[in-house]
């Protein structure tokens, strides 16, 4: 409840800040405030809700709420900390980055999103902005035929693309199915920024977990980073190099890094119970 009170307070503040702006934003803000006030648990129902076989997805290392593997505990740990920080600092768009590819960034994003969505009253949007090698849909075996690439090419509306998942009511997914050409330019476009802003404004209490491409392999991540509230840096034990981590932190500049996740860790903070 406390969190909700916080959120309301933040929304009010935002409204106060935005009020002296243009009429359009005023209108939007007024609308948003009205929505907030109504406190609708699911403000935007997705166009479709997809059936997902969670047990089968365990083979893809997807950790669902009923999972008893040691990793599930670790993800819960991560979930809780991210949530706390997000609430403390009023963060809603959280990117998941890594230095290089293959470090479990996408998996972390999915599992983090699942974990957050397991929290009552917490809506989560999982978004695949790794436009070079999008693979969230693949990981979740989503039976969809189009994703964000369609939105970037202007072939589809955002509302048609996102989907809900059966068994995870508060989680929505915006997948990308095919790589987007000139991904960096696409991400840098005003449309993208607006899209993010829109999504943020549509439901300020909803957390957006965004899968981003590797920071050091392309400029996509740093292009989009200024539009994000914070990022989580994924580090894989025995794979990520120290200098790379430093370089990533350097490149991210003043984007807030709420923390790191150490994947493939051989030491665990606690035995599972």
């Amino acid at each position: 409840m406390n969190a909700n009170m916080d959120r309301i307070q933040r929304a009010l503040d935002l409204a106060a800040v935005n009020r002296p702006g243009s009429g359009a934003t005023d209108e939007a803000a007024a609308e948003r405030t009205a929505v907030r006030r109504e406190f609708v648990p699911a403000p935007m129902e997705p166009a479709r809700r997809l059936e997902v076989d969670w047990v089968a997805l365990r083979e893809n290392r997807i950790v669902d709420w009923s999972d008893r593997r040691p990793a599930a505990q670790a993800y819960r740990m991560l979930r809780t900390q991210v949530l706390q920080r997000a609430r403390t600092h009023h963060l809603s768009t959280i990117g998941v980055v890594s230095a290089a590819n293959g470090e479990g960034k996408t998996l972390t994003a999915i599992n983090l999103a699942l974990g957050l969505a397991a929290e009552p009253n917490q809506f989560v949007l999982l978004m695949d902005l790794d436009l070079k090698r999008p693979c969230i849909a693949q990981h979740l075996r989503l039976p969809v035929h189009s994703g964000l690439e369609a939105w970037f090419s202007g072939a589809a509306r955002l509302e048609d693309l996102w989907c809900g998942l059966a068994g995870a009511e508060r989680l929505f997914v915006l997948p990308t199915l095919a790589p987007v050409p000139d991904s960096s330019e696409a991400l840098a476009s005003a449309g993208t920024a607006k899209m993010l802003q829109d999504l943020k404004e549509r439901d300020p209490g909803r957390l957006m977990i965004i899968d981003l491409p590797p920071v050091l392999l392309s400029d996509d991540a740093i292009t989009i980073a200024p539009h994000l509230d914070a990022v989580v840096l994924v580090v894989t034990e025995g794979r990520t190099r120290r200098e790379d981590v430093s370089r990533v932190l350097e490149l991210l500049g003043n984007t807030r890094v709420i923390g790191t996740v150490l994947n493939q860790s051989t030491e665990s903070e606690k035995r599972a119970y």
Partner: protein, 599 residues
């Protein structure tokens, strides 16, 4: 760059490291071990056969017979070794036993020899002993070992046998030759010195002959002889002077005596001797001549009488004396008359006439006597003897005369003796003074000779010793090599020490594995722990996600395990097959292992 990891080290850190690097550790270890195992299995076996040769000391005590071979045993063994290891000998052995067949066709002769020399081993076996002479502890070589290493046990034994025989033979010939050489050398030296001695002796003999009396040994004798001679000379001279005195005395006596004894006629009248009568007649004649003219009958008569008497006496010299006497008395009478009388005084005239005639007579007589003396004057004694009348009949006179003659004879012989003594003394003196000069040369010669003799003596002694030593060597009674342990075909190879290789390989592989792990760790800059990340970023990671194991992973793991097992079994089979084919049949290995375990 690795500073961050340092703090996380400690036993836990190392364990984490080992866990992290287990793959590389295992791979490196297995590779190393596999390589050493292969090496241990495939290295060809080398067999060494060795013979032990005991160096036996001389049995006859060295105090009694000294060997001329005096070098130390080990030194000699080394010398022999060098002689045995000649190119010719080794090549001969290589050819005879067909050693190194592969290398023979491939390598140079030098390479072959090098191989051979490497395979031949010579080991001295020493014992710590106390030197009986100096009393200090030293190490003495009591034996040595000749060995040969080959891939075949039989060949090793055969070649080692050959080599041992070579060593033994070489030692024998060497020792005998050394002893023989010593004897030969001493013989030669002896002959040389002998010739020198003969030469010196000949020189000395000639020198002695030349300088016999001056030899320094004779100086004393010469001195003594000289002294004695001088003494004798003095005695003889004393005798001579006494004889002189005696002669003077005898002569005086003789002068006092008349040669003829006074003869008296029946009338008691003393019969005057013809000499006295001649004197009387001469004085009468002189008186008559003074008184009368020459034609006076008295004067004529007296003149005739005197000439008759002179013919009888046969002495003219007396006439000279008589005449001189008469002349003197006449002269003195004339001097008296001259003082007393004038020139016309008849006495004075007569006396003057008489002196004149006497002077004439004297002159003629002196001239006649001179002719006579110059005709038969040989010795002064003889002239003196001429005074003596031959017909002396006075016994006292005759006796004295005889004594005088004896004395004079003695003197004559004494004089001769003295003369002889003086000459000999002179001779001795010359010898003694000339001696030092001779002495130097003589000493040189004798010293050379003595030296030569001394050396000759020494050489002779040594020659004798050398001969004994030579017979010692030829009878093999000296120090000798005794083969106490002949080379046998070895049953066990000496190398390679497979266990050691495996053990070393084990250790080495472990070290290599660790080194590889460390190297990888050092080169690896990736993050390995929460702490590292904490240090790097400044905040602890939000979560540590362990590896998420899936069923597929488990299946894959099982599959990999089965694959690994299978490949290991396959490798083992191949390895065993290799061992069976190339090293030793497996059943043999099996039974040898069983045997070893059963022992």
């Amino acid at each position: 760059m690795n500073t961050n990891t340092v703090t996380t080290k400690g036993l836990k850190g190392y364990l984490a490291l080992a866990r992290r690097r287990r793959t590389s550790i295992i791979v490196a270890f297995c590779c190393g071990l596999g390589a050493t195992l292969l090496l241990a299995a495939l290295l060809p076996a080398h067999y060494r056969s060795s013979g032990t040769v005991l160096i036996e000391q001389q049995e006859i005590p060295t105090d009694m017979v000294k060997s001329t071979v005096t070098s130390y045993a080990d030194q000699r063994v080394q010398v022999i070794s060098k002689r045995v290891m000649t190119t010719a000998t080794l090549l001969d052995i290589i050819k005879r036993y067909n050693l190194y067949p592969r290398e023979q066709s491939r390598d140079t002769r030098e390479a072959l020899l090098k191989l051979m020399r490497e395979d031949i081993g010579l080991k001295m076996i020493s014992a710590d002993v106390i030197d009986p002479r100096s009393g200090r502890p030293t190490s003495a070589t009591i034996a040595f070992e000749v060995s040969y290493t080959s891939r075949s046990a039989d060949q090793a034994a055969r070649v080692a046998n050959e080599l041992t025989t070579l060593y033994l033979n070489e030692n024998l010939t060497n020792r005998t030759k050394l002893a023989h050489d010593a004897t030969d050398f001493l013989d030669g030296e002896g002959n040389r010195i002998n010739a020198q001695i003969v030469d010196l002796e000949a020189k000395l003999a000639t020198f002695k002959d030349k300088n016999y009396s001056k030899l320094p040994e004779l100086v004393q004798v010469n001195m003594q002889l000289m002294d004695r001679n001088e003494e004798e000379l003095r005695t003889q001279q004393a005798r001579l002077s006494s004889l002189e005195q005696q002669r003077v005395y005898l002569q005086a006596q003789l002068v006092q005596l008349k040669p003829n004894s006074t003869v008296f006629s029946e009338t008691g009248e003393r019969i005057v001797s013809s000499g006295d009568r001649l004197k009387m007649l001469r004085s009468q004649l002189a008186a008559a001549k003074a008184k009368y003219g020459p034609d006076h009958p008295d004067v004529v008569t007296l003149t005739r009488e005197v000439s008759g008497m002179e013919a009888e006496v046969g002495d003219k010299s007396d006439t000279v004396n008589d005449l001189r006497r008469q002349l003197q008395s006449s002269q003195s009478q004339l001097d008296e008359a001259r003082k007393r009388y004038t020139a016309e005084h008849p006495d004075r005239v007569r006396l003057e006439a008489m002196v004149r005639s006497l002077q004439q007579d004297l002159d003629t007589a002196t001239a006649a006597a001179k002719v006579a003396t110059s005709a038969d004057s040989s010795s002064p004694f003889e002239t003196r003897d001429s005074l003596k009348p031959t017909d002396a009949d006075n016994p006292a006179y005759v006796q004295i005369q005889a004594q005088l003659a004896g004395t004079e004879n003695d003197m004559k012989s004494l004089n001769a003796q003295i003369g002889k003594l003086e000459t000999s003394i002179h001779g001795y003196e010359a010898d003694v003074t000339g001696s030092p000069e001779v002495e130097r040369e003589y000493h040189d010669l004798t010293r050379d000779l003595d030296n030569a003799r001394l050396r000759y003596q020494e050489i002779r002694t040594k020659q004798g010793e050398a001969r004994v030593a030579q017979s010692l060597e030829s009878d093999r009674q000296g120090e000798r090599f005794n083969l106490i342990d002949p080379p046998l075909p070895p049953e066990e190879p000496i190398s390679p020490n497979r266990q050691l290789i495996v053990l070393a390989g084990l250790v080495l592989s472990l070290a290599i594995a660790l080194a590889v792990a460390m190297l990888r760790e050092v080169l690896d800059t990736t993050i390995h722990s929460r702490d590292e990340l904490l240090q790097l970023v400044g905040v602890a990671p939000l979560a540590l996600i362990p590896h998420i194991a899936t069923d597929g992973d488990a299946r894959g793991q099982r599959k990999r395990f089965r694959l690994a097992l299978g490949s290991a079994a396959g490798t083992a089979c191949v390895a065993m097959a290799l061992v069976h084919l190339f090293y030793r049949p497996l059943d043999v290995i099996f039974f040898s292992i069983v045997q070893r375990l059963g022992m």
